[in-house]
Amino acid sequence: GAGVSQTPSNKVTEKGKYVELRCDPISGHTALYWYRQSLGQGPEFLIYFQGTGAADDSGLPNDRFFAVRPEGSVSTLKIQRTERGDSAVYLCASSLLGPANTEAFFGQGTRLTVV
């Protein structure tokens, strides 16, 4: 695809349920980031993948949040026992790796609503 693709675009779930959000990065982009954007706020960093491994998960708010990238391409953000406070737009971004400054390209986001 031409850009970063995120599915679903919208997700409504009940409190306590489990959800998975998918990110398909630009082909060849080794670096992948997840951010969360709450209403009226800028995006906040959650986790960074370099290839298949999570190089930095310091932004994950608690252990209900987990992300994987098993083949170094598609990534899935998983949220267990969802809470109303998890409602936000979840953004994925990908970029090349390299010594030069590389631009991060963002997906359209998944709007998660927990009711």
Partner: protein, 113 residues
């Protein structure tokens, strides 16, 4: 603490007027700063970065280390400039140029005809 501050939630100007969107940062190392823009119903996209010293769509931004600022400016605003603007700071880690972005809360620019 590393932080990006955008003091204005909303900035409203008339077409043809000058625009300045303010951004201040706090960072212990050598900062790498960006402006991202989000037009209505579109994804977040890079507008410009300080290291390139470029002008995109008539916008410029100069890094002022003394004032820890990276304000975005345009001499003559156009209606199509109406959008959300986010200032962002790269939190460089992992021993190289990679790092996540720390975003400000954003400023909504509204350009009236």
């Amino acid at each position: 603490a590393q932080r990006v501050t955008q003091p204005e939630k909303l900035l409203s100007v008339f077409k043809g007027a000058p625009v300045e969107l303010k951004c201040n940062y706090s960072y212990s190392g050598s900062p790498e700063l960006f402006w991202y823009v989000q037009y209505s119903r579109q994804r977040l996209q890079l507008l410009l970065r300080h290291i390139s010293r470029e002008s995109i769509k008539g916008f410029t931004a100069d890094l002022n280390k003394g004032e820890t600022s990276f304000h975005l400016k345009k001499p003559f605003a156009q209606e199509e400039d109406s959008a959300m603007y986010y200032c962002a700071l790269k939190q460089r880690r992992y021993g190289g140029s990679q790092g996540n972005l720390i975003f400000g809360k954003g400023t909504k620019l509204s350009v009236k005809p």
